[in-house]
């Protein structure tokens, strides 16, 4: 195989060499004047017009005909806004791009060499230059200010009742940690991470950690603000939710965050696209090693009721890893067992008692 390719390449070179040699000899025989500008110049000029028509034509054709293939449906509030900005910018730039390209290629064709003509000595024109400095500056300012407004809104503080979920990136998987009923994520420390089960590095002396639960599927409530708290265990990763227009790096040693509001449940999106197999996905967008391309996490957007039901059905991490009870300080063990759901709340004990236990534990 490679031998044949090699021979082919050599053959092409030999042919080229012979063509050049013949061309040169013919040139010598004819007494060719190399300074004369002839047919090739006209051919090149014409080719530029062909190129312009063909390339702009296929650009517009593909962009219109395959529009739905290359545009991702959007499912978040800010995503609609940034998509709007994207398409406004697209309109402005495509107009500018087309006009400049067409003018340039027409000039190229129109002013091709003609020995009877002399080029215009036109070195400067301040009005022209001023015009094309100021016009792009104005257009850009408009784009900048609309962009800034959107950016400030997107990066503003999340509201207090936002649904907080922690995303942890590691080679090569994503894990989500939900705060459980207390709506507080327990403290973590990377030095507590181990291979036996404590993949979060949960600090079990913090009562906030007792009801935290782990999920390998990212469930999101529709219509509510979600605040992703993002961290990485080993190298850089990046939380990328294409349909929600969300992207934020996961950085070891520096927690990051991103807030957004999903607008369509998975089912709604399936109906909308007419694709019953549609699923939201989370990908990694920062090179992280061998398995970078496979770092996927399924994403499900539920309506409020299903989401609550799903959350209630999840077991606390501590319940799944009861061995770690030994790290819970003695005075919190009872509370931990109750909060993590290891022991059922006694029929006779009203909910207040549990809360009282928790409150008591908290004060100690």
């Amino acid at each position: 195989m490679s031998l044949i390719i090699g021979l082919g390449v050599i053959l092409i070179f030999v042919i080229l060499y012979q063509i050049l040699k013949v061309g040169r000899l013919v040139g010598v025989a004819k007494g060719k004047d190399y300074n004369k500008i002839g047919t090739s110049n006209r051919v090149n000029a014409a080719l530029f017009i062909v190129f312009m028509v063909a390339s702009l034509g296929s650009f517009f054709w593909y962009s219109f005909v395959f529009f739905s293939d290359y545009t991702l449906p959007v499912a978040s509030i800010h995503g609609k806004e940034t998509d709007g900005l994207f398409w406004i910018t697209m309109a402005v730039t495509v107009v500018a791009f087309s006009i400049i390209s067409i003018i340039m290629f027409i000039f190229i064709y129109k002013y091709q060499y003609d020995e009877n003509r002399k080029a215009k000595y036109f070195a400067d024109n301040h009005y022209l230059e001023l015009a094309w400095t100021i016009i792009p500056a104005i257009v850009l300012s408009v784009l900048i200010f609309t962009g800034l407004r959107a950016w400030n809104k997107i990066t503003a503080e999340a509201s207090k009742d936002a649904e907080v979920i922690e995303m942890i990136g590691q080679q090569f998987a994503w894990t989500a940690r939900y705060p459980g009923k207390d709506k507080a994520l327990g403290k973590t420390n990377f030095q507590l991470i181990d291979n036996n089960g404590n993949e979060f590095g949960l600090d079990l002396s913090d009562k906030g950690s007792f009801d935290d639960f782990k999920s390998l599927e990212l469930h999101l409530p529709v219509g509510r603000e979600v605040l992703l708290r993002i961290r990485a265990k080993d190298v850089l990763h990046s939380v990328y939710l294409p349909h929600f227009r969300v992207k934020m790096d996961a950085v070891p040693g520096m927690p990051t965050q991103f807030k957004f509001t999903p607008t369509l449940t998975t089912q709604e999106m399936r109906d909308k696209l007419g694709n019953p197999n549609f699923n939201y996905e989370l990908a990694c967008a920062e090179i992280c090693g061998k398995g970078h391309f496979s770092m996927k996490m399924p994403v499900v957007v539920d309506d409020e009721e299903t989401y609550a039901k799903w959350k209630a059905s999840q077991e606390a991490w501590l319940k799944q890893n009861p061995d770690y009870m030994k790290y819970v300080p003695d005075n919190l063990k009872e509370a931990a067992k109750v909060i993590a759901g290891i022991v059922e709340e006694k029929e006779t004990t009203p909910a207040q008692t549990t809360q009282a236990t928790v409150a008591e534990a908290g004060t100690k």
């Binding site: 040169r24 080719l47 000595y121 040693g253």
Partner: protein
Amino acid sequence: MATTDIHIQHDVHHHDDHAHDEHHHGNFWTTYIFSQDHKIIAKQFLITGIFWALIGGCLSVIFRLQLGFPDMNLEWLKPILGGWITPEGKLDPEFYLALVTMHGTIMVFFVLTAGLSGTFSNFLIPLQVGARDMASGFLNMLSYWFFFLSSVIMLISFFLETGPAAGGWTVYPPLSALPQAIKGSGTGMTMWLVAMALFIVSSLLGGINYITTVINLRTKGMSFTRLPLTIWAFFFTAIIGVLSFPVLFAAALLLIFDRSFGTSFYLSDIYIGGEALPHVGGSPILFQHLFWFLGHPEVYIVLLPALGISSEIIATNSRKPIFGYKAMIGSMLFIAILSFIVWAHHMFVTGMNPFLGSIFMLLTLIIAVPSAVKIFNYVTTLWKGNLRFTPAMLFSIGLVSFFLTGGITGIFLGNSAIDIQLHDTYFVVAHFHLVMGSASFFGMLAGVYHWFPKMFGRMMNDKLGYVHFWLTFVGVYLVFFPMHYIGIAGFPRRYYSWTNFETFSGFADLNTLVSVAAIITLAAQFIFLFNFFHSIFRGRLAPANPWNSTTLEWTTPRNPGHGNWPGEIPSVYRWPYDYSKPGAKDDFIPQTIPYSETPESNLPHENELIKLEGEDNKGIIIGGEHDSHH
């Protein structure tokens, strides 16, 4: 202005003391290998650059095979890639990352920095400002040999068992710092860092030389306002390089410390390979700031020389003055300054403070203004010209087209709100390959075609040049334009395959098209290589000034020796763009023709300069302050 110019003469005359003939007697080693002649050094950079471009191009075709034909059996690459082809005949995913990493490193630094600036700054600065050689021929020679050493080390890293660096050309830690994280971060990364450190030394030695030569060694009459735009571009490029490369050096040094001496500049809170590492308190973001403080100016280090080259070629082949000479200089200066304060637009979604994001977005989009001015000026230069489509001219037009197409998508990416979605997708890949990769590459090719006659005393074949251009121009667009669609669809870059995601399951057709176009484009470069090497030995003998150009290099003999001009260095009397001047006999007036010899074409204020020309012999030179705008 005038005082500076008077000083110049001392240097010029000092150099005149050298009898240039003596330099011809060196042996093979001092003439061709350890040469201190800027022209030989330029050719050394060029040939090394071409070698690297070929390697870089082949690497890209290998990973394009993977992306375009995911089911292809690559068993046949085993003789070259050995263990990097898995037993199933697939490319190893880790080697895929090594390929993209090395493709980026090679193309950005070894081809488009060393190969472009190294070749043309070296070749053209002394010839176009009217100097016998660089300010320091010895440092210039060292600059090449440091580059050579760097190249050797980088090349050897391909043959390591663990492979070359694989953490992306930006080598973000912790991935690049931890051999546990990826094989390429072992010895491969160490060699990458050593090679880059040597490369930076080379680049600084070259840059200091370019700056010094432009400031000090201009010939009589060559005021700054009479410099060709090429020289202005090389001058700005060198200044950017001297200011920004040391920061990359610092970044690399700290990374070396983190890797080898247990420091924690970039590392913190890491649990990998079953253990928590002792590093605390470092920040991976610090590296990104340091890297992009070079990395963004680097874009312009790559691009400005190409813009300078194309300005010169477009003016010459339009037979017209470049439109807005001063605006061109002004916009390059503005771009050079801005290039230092926009770096964090690469970091909008790294977790950097969002307020910083706003500032950097503002500064980034400002850069579009001088860039737009440059494009408009190119187009206006073509207007009412008398265009000759030499291969150099074709490639320059191609450059303007790429600069426009690729530049305009920068308006999306510089907008932080839009960048959230587009960051690290194929949209970015399309953007920078067009605006900086392909545009600069075309600038380099244009330069080779245009100055080949001065480099080797022979002409390249035009017809092969046309074929080369059209295949490459259409090929590059077919490679990079479809990537915009793939990027808008959200496909992330540096992905080995798309099969794991439903979201990224489409576009197999476009990816195949891109790969086929990439293969054809690479194949077309062999036409160039053939033309290049064939013409060195067999090309038609070049006339002294084949393009009827005005600049100084075309006043040298066909094969300029060491020292460039056989007699005295010619004096300069006018700016470099007197093409098609009304009333003039020819459609060009070389810079060496005094106004006193061209009364028929002089503009009123130029007639006033005639009496000052006579005083040249007494050592007074007038800066060309007024002869460039009307």
